[in-house]
């Protein structure tokens, strides 16, 4: 049933978009890939699951708790692993960019090991009261969880886009992304803006973590690695630093994966996505929405 598959693809794609936008926000202001992003996503998933299943917190509370935890993780990441490696003005000169990248890889390894210690290597179930609730509209089945995912990611992405486009601090973030020094000359406290970007990106990863955990009904410590890699692939595909690129790229990847599983061989699920990405990059090396360096 094509309509159902399209809904599945859109749901998966909107989660990918959430992850990819997080990468893009941090890349925009710091010019580095945050390699710990996937692990923060995984911690978000576990936090949501544990608060809901072990502590019996209502789902919205578990959700907010997980967002708060991952936002805090983003803050600590910026404070301990990123800021000390930057020049005071926020400039990434010399090899500061490279050392910051390595530093995020270090954080990723620490988080992965910490998660094994805390949560164990086994996948754990995450059952929600509405996991099997579905609506039937004509011949099409929609699960409630899919609606929740689409609504949550839709609201977040639109909110973020509006904030970037229209608000004073959103403009400051875009200015910082283009040139930290120029933004500082306009009176922008670039340190604050960079912290905002890292915290927002991490909180979005946490949100995506809980949504993924709910839709797959289980969580595992390995989920961060594969999601992290896909998010990375999406921003390369969509164009580094472009929010539109992350959104469109995420949805294309989600759709492609779903359709391949539905109508082709599910063994090629991950492969076909990367084939599309390589194809696009051959034709448009800067990605779909790539901007020329200025």
């Amino acid at each position: 049933m094509l309509a159902e598959q399209l809904i599945n693809g859109l749901t998966l794609g909107s989660i990918y978009a959430l992850i990819a936008i997080g990468y893009t926000l941090v890349f925009g202001v710091l010019d580095i890939i945050n390699m710990a992003h996937g692990e923060i996503f995984m911690f978000g998933a576990f936090a949501g699951m544990l608060m809901s299943m072990k502590l019996g917190a209502p789902l919205p509370v578990a959700f907010l708790g997980s967002v708060a935890l991952t936002a805090a993780m983003g803050y600590v990441l910026e404070l301990l692993a990123l800021r000390p490696l930057r020049r005071p003005s926020g400039n990434m000169e010399g090899n500061a960019g490279l050392s910051t990248l390595i530093s995020t890889i270090g954080v990723a390894i620490i988080l992965e090991n910490l998660s094994l210690k805390l949560f164990g290597a086994e996948n754990q179930p995450f059952r929600t009261s509405f996991g099997n609730v579905k609506f039937t509209i004509g011949p099409v089945n929609i699960y409630l969880i899919q609606i929740v995912i689409l609504l949550a990611s839709g609201v977040l992405i639109c909110g973020l886009a509006l904030w970037l486009k229209r608000s004073r601090s959103g403009r400051a973030l875009r200015a910082t992304a283009e040139s930290p020094e120029t933004a500082a000359l306009m009176g922008v406290d670039t340190k604050k803006i960079i912290t905002t970007a890292v915290v927002t990106a991490s909180a979005m990863a946490g949100t995506a973590g809980v949504l993924v955990a709910m839709s797959f009904s289980n969580v595992g410590t390995r989920m961060g690695v594969s999601m992290g890699l896909k998010g990375l692939a999406i921003i390369v595909f969509g164009g580094m630093g472009s929010v539109n690129g992350a959104l469109v790229g995420g949805i294309i990847l989600g759709m492609a994966e779903t359709l391949v599983v539905a109508y082709g061989d599910s063994g090629y699920r991950d492969a076909i996505a990367f084939v599309i990405i390589i194809g696009v990059l051959l034709l448009k090396p800067k990605g779909l929405f790539g901007q020329n360096a200025s």
Binding site: P88, R174, E178, S179, M186, G187, V188
Partner: protein, 242 residues
């Protein structure tokens, strides 16, 4: 009259390069002060040190009766000292309007909208292209935008670093006119310029920089006839034939 900006024995290093070797500069309220000097004499370094992008090693910067030495740029800008940097530093991916809005980033007063309107009236080309990406503007238009963006902060002291660089002669004259206008509106200006003749003609006081030191200073109308300035910066006494 107390100085709006008083720079004492300012020393700045670029890595191991001793770029400023003890500079003293003063700008009084309402004054237009020029810094001239050859490439590498430390003009841009002076501007960047004043605005806080580079931290000085030694010396003191007092602005508006406040010691601002070592403060971050955003704190200095918030106090009304604004730099329009060399090379314009337009935010090319943002629109003309957004660039102007960014200029007013530090302001929280009600008249930002009115000032925006004023700028768009003063620079009609910016009104014409307000919704376009600033990167699509020509060099001269970008310079107008950079100056207008600087004015959007309502500075008390405007630092202009080579505003005429790379512009066609006609546009240079326009920029010079604008600078004079800015001074006449009551804003103090510290100007770094390569067009020495025009800069001296509109300014009150001039400093001549050489390898990180002030080697000459005085009223601009006196310096313009100084043989040392004539020889080094105005092409000597040879008649100018275009």
């Amino acid at each position: 009259m107390t100085a709006l900006l008083k720079v004492q024995h300012l020393e700045t290093y670029y890595g191991h390069i001793h770029a400023l070797k003890g500079i003293d500069i003063e700008v009084r309220p309402g004054q237009l002060v020029t810094i001239i000097g050859a490439n590498g004499s430390g003009k841009t370094t002076t501007m960047k040190t004043l605005i806080g992008v580079i931290k000085p090693k030694r010396g003191k910067i007092v602005y508006d009766s406040l010691d601002i030495t070592g403060l971050s740029p955003h704190l200095i800008v918030a106090r009304g000292m604004v730099l329009v940097p060399e090379g314009r530093a337009i935010l090319t991916r943002m629109t003309v309007l957004e660039n102007l809005q960014m200029g007013a980033f530090v302001r929280k007063d009600e008249s930002v909208g009115a000032d925006l309107e004023k700028m768009l009236n003063r620079f009609p080309i910016l009104r014409q292209r307000w919704d376009q990406k600033a990167g699509t503007l020509s060099g001269g238009q970008q310079q107008m935008l950079a100056i207008a963006r600087g004015l959007m902060a309502r500075p008390k002291l405007l630092l202009l670093d080579e505003p005429s660089m790379g512009l066609a002669p006609m546009v240079v004259s326009e920029v010079i006119d604008i600078i004079r206008e800015i001074r006449n509106s009551g804003v103090s200006v510290l100007l770094v310029e390569q067009n020495v003749r025009q800069a001296l003609a509109i300014s009150d006081y001039t400093y001549v920089l050489e390898t990180g030191k002030v080697i000459l200073q005085g009223n601009s109308d006196v310096l313009i006839n100084d043989p040392r300035v004539k020889d080094s910066y105005l092409g000597g006494d040879r008649p100018y034939n275009g």
